[in-house]
Subunit: 333 residues, 2 copies
């Protein structure tokens, strides 16, 4: 299989996507893709890199799930801006040794593309470009997504106001618990649905709350938002720094996943849930919006005046203690 054959394979696979956006003028196959811009709209651009043996291991992630996750992580970023994902680009650095045969050959990539394209089609996202190269050792995947929203509706991480309540979607910690299970030798079994399997699935095949993020953007109710990728504490610290505020979390309120602990919920990372602040008086409206999208939404704390001493405080059993993020750093092993 040559580089050009591989690209042709991708073109054939994505041609099965029946959805044809009218503002896409040219997709894969030229020096660049072409989109038609439109006044009154903002364009959101994000990219996420996944590296074998750093972000995933091929011996525990099914190829279709890897394709799914590669897109999911970037969809999550667009959701966290309150936007609608529209277009994607996919860059693959493929180990040379296995480009011709073996586990990462045509069969692997067909499954990978099936997982990627199924998620793209579910959200009417169109793959419009990317690049492919050989790679001496590990597989690397760079996943880019372009989203859109009405002008002025995007939600930055810098808009939190003192007095806001802090909300989070879903449950936290399952992804980190799942990673721990995988590293301990547990494996995915799609015929089972117990807590262990759910945790591994949360890690390997996350479902970012795309529709709810978009609805939040349209509602104008959220002041600041990001997705929980580095861990609740780390990401809330990012939000606080950007907004020049501090925040207090109520330990008992944090929605800890069945398979996880409070520690994993606070510091685990890769939950791909939405973390946002909004006026407390809008809680009922937000809960109705969440119900409409069949999302669990939990109020877990509040935004306070910026304290130089400590950005984050955790209240547990009524006792307040400083909370120091222990989130993931890609430069640590």
């Amino acid at each position: 299989m040559s580089e050009f054959d591989f690209i042709e394979r991708i073109r054939v696979r994505i041609a099965r996507n029946a959805f044809k956006p009218t503002d896409l003028l040219l997709g894969i196959g030229d020096d660049a893709a072409i989109l038609r811009e439109q006044s009154g709209r903002e364009l959101l651009i994000t990219t996420d890199l996944l590296v074998e043996d750093v972000d995933f291991k091929l011996d525990y992630i099914p190829p279709a799930w890897l394709g799914h996750k590669a897109l999911a992580v970037s969809l999550s970023d667009i959701a966290a801006m309150g936007g609608t994902p529209r277009f994607s680009l996919l860059t693959l650095a493929i180990p040379l040794a296995s480009a011709e045969c073996g586990v990462r050959s045509a069969e692997f990539w067909d499954a990978f593309l099936d997982g990627y394209c199924a998620l793209a089609e579910a959200h009417q996202v169109t793959l419009i470009g990317g690049d492919i190269s050989g790679m001496p050792e590990q597989l690397a995947i760079d996943s880019m997504v372009l989203g859109q929203c009405e002008s002025g509706k995007s939600i930055r991480r810098s808009g939190a106001q003192v007095g806001d309540a802090v909300f989070v979607t879903g449950e936290l910690g399952a992804s980190a618990a799942g990673l721990q299970l995988l590293l301990n030798g547990e494996r995915v079994d799609e015929t089972l649905a117990d807590a262990k399997q759910q945790a591994m699935r949360a890690h390997l095949r996350p479902e970012p709350p795309v529709a709810f993020g978009q609805a939040l953007g349209q509602s104008g109710l959220a002041h600041a938002m990001l997705d929980v990728s580095d861990g609740l504490a780390q990401d809330l610290a990012h939000l606080c720094t950007a907004s020049q505020v501090s925040a207090t979390l109520i330990a008992e309120a944090i929605p800890v996943a069945e398979s996880a602990s409070l520690q994993l919920a606070l510091h685990g990372g890769e939950d791909f849930e939405l973390l946002f602040t909004a006026e407390a008086k809008n809680e009922a409206a937000l809960q109705r919006l969440a119900e409409l999208h069949q999302m669990q939404l939990t109020r877990i704390g509040g935004v306070t005046l910026r304290s130089d001493a400590q950005a984050l405080t955790l209240k547990q059993n009524g006792i307040a203690q400083p909370l120091t993020p222990q989130g993931f750093d890609h430069f640590r092993r």
Copy 2:
């Protein structure tokens, strides 16, 4: 140096860029960058992956030149669409072993960013995002550029017409000759400017014809265009396939670089010159445009009716022979 320190380093470096585009609403630092769209405009999106030991070797490319080249390859794609490059994203997979110290430490990355940013600033391109991860072995760089042009002015590779003349900018083959020299142990010496040094510089520090590509787009004179990245023959074959035509090249007309041979000019790749077709009667106007941009422009052949037998023909000493592309395939070693 942590991942967040590294990103902060990049933010500080790019803050030195005095150019602030009015349609950039939010750059680096959130889940996604935000651009303001505008009616009557097309958005062009391209991405290029550079992998250590496949696309470059760290023992022969100075870090500042690697930074330059990482951006140059994507600027070339936007030029080849007739567009103006505006924004860029940069994704880096950095070998873990050397993230803390050694040749690829702060010093390496400061030089890399200087090379990248100097080229960006020269073309008023603003870095708006990207991602960083550790990488077990080789360095990988994914370089994305967003460009723009007036609606309807972008130049695809599919518009070539039978009877068009084929044009190419600059000279061909120097980059491939330079790569050969580097692989044979020759090294860059910035105090010299002989043919060998020029060839190595052509390979390691290409200067894509950004302004001329943009001017061609505005002129409306080119029917089809791409950049010479895989080799003249390979890229012309791509253009012919997309346009459903064939083409004949005149060997004696091809502008072969001093250090190169006709063979390298035909099949060498990475020249990052512009290859386009246009009506022959517009040659004088095109030459004036090229002069204005201090570009060498050469008419090297013509577009013919699609022949199933052979897309490309090479005429040498009056004798016509089939020309088979031998361009670079990233999956071959």
